[in-house]
């Protein structure tokens, strides 16, 4: 018996759709995939004809059993791998995947009385998996998402999140351009925003924060300032600023 996480599996691109002008959702069929929990990630490995290899980590939007893995990849300006995945990879092409990885940044039904999700940009991806898992479990405990992003055009999974409004409401926070008719101005998340738009400290929420390092750093400090216990805040930093 060999633990199936050792080593790399072959995945074939079975679905792709554009999320924004610079990001795509990619679905890989991975024979033998053991399933994964909400919040986990995979390593993706690409090999060039001369043997050169590059490995990058991506959070999964998909959750549960089955042999399909859904990632959302944003094209980074100086990236080596992301432009290839977003602009070039075609249906039927193969990559190697390792995982699922990471049991710490995981949401499971029944482990908390309520959950607050806070996303910065593409950090929404593992949190979408958590929203999907909450729905699949028919979980009645409160869960809500605060999604900080530049403009409405940058949103990942906007329609899907809108569809969950009754059970997992999303608060959209725009840092650059508010939408027409929007009732809030543009600007970064402040402690005041967090106090107004997230579950209160008295409810003792379990909080998941994911996004670029600077965003996670700032939000984590603000949450602790508001009175949340540091141990109640789980973070996933993406690197970059």
């Amino acid at each position: 018996m060999i633990p199936a996480s050792f080593g790399w599996r072959s995945g074939t691109l079975s679905g792709a759709r554009r999320l924004t002008p610079s990001a795509r959702s990619l679905t890989f069929r991975v024979p033998g995939w053991p399933g994964n929990e909400a919040g986990q990630h995979v390593d993706v490995r690409l090999t060039a004809p001369d043997g050169y290899r590059a490995v990058r980590s991506y959070s999964m939007a998909s959750v549960g059993d089955g042999d399909e893995v859904e990632l959302a990849v944003a094209r980074l300006p100086d990236g080596e791998v992301s432009p290839f995945l977003v602009d070039e990879l075609e249906l039927g092409d193969r990559v190697e995947l390792r995982g699922p990885l990471g049991g710490f940044f995981v949401w499971r039904s029944g482990q908390a009385q309520c959950t607050q999700l806070i996303a910065g940009g593409s950090g929404v991806v593992p949190l979408v998996a958590m929203v999907r898992a909450h729905a699949a479990a028919d979980d009645r405990a409160p869960m809500q998402l605060l999604y900080s992003l530049r403009t409405p055009a940058d949103a990942f999974y906007a329609d899907e999140l809108g569809g969950f409004t009754a059970t997992v409401p999303t608060t959209w926070h725009y840092t650059r351009t508010p939408p027409p008719g929007g009732d809030r101005p543009a600007g970064r998340l402040t402690e005041h925003d967090l106090r107004e738009q997230t579950l209160p400290v008295e409810n003792e929420p379990l909080i998941y924060v994911c996004g670029p390092t600077g965003f996670v750093e700032a939000v984590s400090h603000q949450l602790v300032s508001l009175g949340h216990a540091a141990a109640s805040v789980r973070t996933e930093r993406f690197g970059g600023v």
Binding site: M1, P3, G99, F104, T213, E217
Partner: protein, 95 residues
């Protein structure tokens, strides 16, 4: 200097251990703080992973991936506790 969370150890660790390093509780040899390694502050990629104690900044473990394999230094830990339910990198082990 921005750091990453201990979650990033999961990939390299999956090559090394049959349990999930990020959910494993460990004690810092410097300040005796006890926390899951997922809570550590990770510096160093891509030269390696330098996981530091969230409480005192001391180095807990260093992992360097190289062509022949991995170098793993854990002198910054006094111990780790690996639960019976610590699946291989979070997944169920199948026979």
């Amino acid at each position: 200097m921005p750091y990453l969370d201990g979650n990033v150890l999961a990939g390299a660790a999956s090559d090394l251990f049959a349990f999930d390093l990020t959910t494993t509780e460990a004690q810092c040899a410097s300040c005796y703080d006890i926390a899951p390694l997922g809570r550590s502050l990770v510096f160093g990629p891509p030269m390696g992973f330098v996981a530091r104690c969230r409480s005192c900044d001391s180095v807990l473990i260093v992992v360097v991936e190289r062509p022949e394999g991995h170098a793993f230094d854990a002198r910054g830990l006094r111990w780790m506790r690996i639960g019976n339910d610590a699946h291989a990198a979070g997944e169920k082990i199948r026979p």
